[in-house]
């Protein structure tokens, strides 16, 4: 069995700050991490490999620094990694990103046919959740989004049964391989990297593919050119004009509480009625 896991390197958004004067994102010094949602995808692939054997290839498209994310994936236990990197990919939206990734997976499959592709639920920077469905449609894979558990996998029958989150419940769905799974957060917990894998990762020569290596000839489908969406404006949310009206500055807790209820009763009649504070 051959599993491809797609991961993205993202800035650790918990540490992202907006410059108070220029309103620009301050990226300097913000560490880059594997998109947290993708770690669940890596772990789920590793668990399948534990049970069924086979190999795991981790793929990312990004700048040369994204090599660090792949090295980390090796430490977790991936067999192989590919860094898809080429200036021509810059500025890609999700349509162009899924084209480039799908094309690369096709190329990977020429050597080792691919049974399953994993992605995360979404990223924490672009946050669209569109790349997984995009890759699946382009490759004609069965799409299984928001998967919380893999119930069964039968490599003879080439069938897979999963639980996926849907509105108001969980859908248990059975389909055929090859399939693409977007993994829900919290569905598993990443293992500790083993010593052997850590050593292997330190020495690992990360293969870098440019667009030619990925078999992409048509540059009109990648990067900015291949992106139907255009970011036309970036701005900060406008502040609300009025500050809160302060209540109970010189009262004790109980006095304050009553002052709040008095204010609601006099200023917000309908709400106060619905709360039962005043009778109609």
């Amino acid at each position: 069995m051959h599993i491809v896991v797609c991961i993205k390197q993202v800035p650790d958004s918990a540490q992202i700050r907006v410059h108070p004067v220029t309103n620009t994102i301050m990226r300097q010094g913000v560490p880059a991490i594997i998109n947290p949602f993708d770690v669940f995808a890596i772990e789920e692939a590793l668990r399948l490999k534990d049970r069924f054997g086979g190999r795991i290839t981790v793929l990312t498209m990004g700048p040369p620094q994204a090599e660090d994310a792949l090295r980390k994936a090796i430490a977790y236990g991936a067999d192989d990694v590919i860094l898809l990197t080429d200036r021509a990919f810059a500025g890609a939206d999700t349509l162009a990103t899924s084209f480039a990734l799908a094309q690369t997976i096709r190329k990977i499959a020429e050597e080792h046919p691919v049974d399953l592709v994993f992605t995360g639920k979404q990223t924490i920077d672009g946050d669209t959740a569109q790349v997984g469905p995009g890759i699946a449609k382009r490759l004609g894979l069965q799409l299984l989004t928001y998967v919380s558990a893999i119930d069964s996998l039968d490599l003879e029958e080439r069938s897979i049964t999963v639980q996926r989150r849907s509105e108001g419940g969980v859908q248990v769905i059975r389909t055929r391989l090859p399939a693409l799974i977007t993994m829900l957060e919290g569905s598993n917990q990443i293992r500790f990297a083993g010593m052997d894998d850590m050593f292997r990762s330190a020495r690992f020569e990360v293969p870098k593919w440019n667009k030619e290596r990925a078999g992409i000839e048509d540059v009109s489908k990648i990067g900015l050119k291949g992106s139907p969406t255009v970011v036309s404006k970036i701005f900060t949310p406008r502040p609300r004009a009025v500050r809160a009206q302060m209540i109970g500055a010189d009262l004790d807790a109980s006095g304050t509480a009553n002052a709040v209820l008095d204010t609601l009763s006099s200023q917000h009649l309908r709400l106060a009625q619905e709360l039962g504070l005043i009778t109609a």
């Binding site: 958004s13 309103n23 939206d93 349509l95 924490i124 920077d125 672009g126 946050d127 669209t128 959740a129 569109q130 997984g132 469905p133 995009g134 699946a136 449609k137 382009r138 069965q142 799409l143 989004t145 928001y146 989150r165 849907s166 509105e167 108001g168 419940g169 969980v170 859908q171 248990v172 769905i173 389909t175 055929r176 139907p228 255009v230 970011v231 036309s232 970036i234 701005f235 949310p237 502040p239 609300r240 500050r243 809160a244 009206q245 302060m246 209540i247 109970g248 807790a253 304050t256 509480a257 009553n258 709040v260 209820l261 709400l271 619905e274 709360l275 039962g276 504070l277 005043i278 009778t279």
Partner: protein, 350 residues
Amino acid sequence: KRLELDPRLAAYKGIWVFVEMERGQVHQVSWELLGEGRKLADILHVELGAVILGGSSDALGGAARSAFTYGADVAYIVADPILADYRNEPYTKAMTDLVNRYQPEILLLGATTLGRDLAGSVATTLLTGLTADCTELAIDPDNRGLLATRPTFGGSLLCTIQTLNYRPQMATIRPRVMAMPDAVPERSGRIVAENLQMREDDIIAKVLTFIPDDAQEQAQLAYADIIVAGGRGLGKAENFRLIWDLAAVLGAEVGGSRPVTHAGWLPADRQVGQSGKTVRPKLYIAAGISGAIQHRVGMEASDVIIAINNDPNAPIFDFATYGIVGDAVQILPALTDALRSRLAVNRRAG
């Protein structure tokens, strides 16, 4: 900025909203989007269409009638037992066939799990642009294009995205961001019914079972009228009891900021904010919440916001309706008690 659209694309006319039905129930975000779609359609002087897919034509007919009352001029319906449960393949096929046939210029879907699964697949199949998780929609007067605005980097910034040379222009929109429109009962419209060009044998994926969430357990946060929310300022998990107590007296749902769901003080589905739920209650009480932008974007549309915080300079006071500077651990029980006694008095009087 004027754009000469390829005549083939200029033929795309009208605004469509996907009416999301799961288990015979229409998701409320669909009505919210029809309300918003109506405004855009009036600006563009085009029809507003509702796309309704599902298993039984009766249920779809009912949904279509509701869609008309919320502003749709026409309902595009595909009823087929194959569409009874949501599955990506037949829904993508039904939707893309409709789009290719009737060519709307804008297609809006709710940013729900179902809506995002479908939108991503439809946009890739149609090879067009899709803007995710929008909070604001407008029309560019220069080129009648859609201006879709979405929060980025956790809400610290907003960006406006356009799909210039591709049609339809697609966007998913968060539930509760657009106001619920008033139904106009006497409004009606046209129904266009199409067949699904698929047989069950063509479809590989089979739904074996559906396990509904326990309605009691499930937080109905997004659509709650009253919410009491707590933040890290409560200090420790045990103090959350004060939040639950107040909520019980108010008949409110309980919410929280990200640090408290991450710390396990509260289940994850009760997180309010950019990476949690967007809410619009009539009353939102925030205790020990600083009012960081990622929290604010999820709750600032509330009618009345009461903030309790011991720091007079906390950012939440910049946008709350009422502010109380004080220790939430003391104010919360005082509020609960004061409420309880007033409600008791009113009940005796009423």
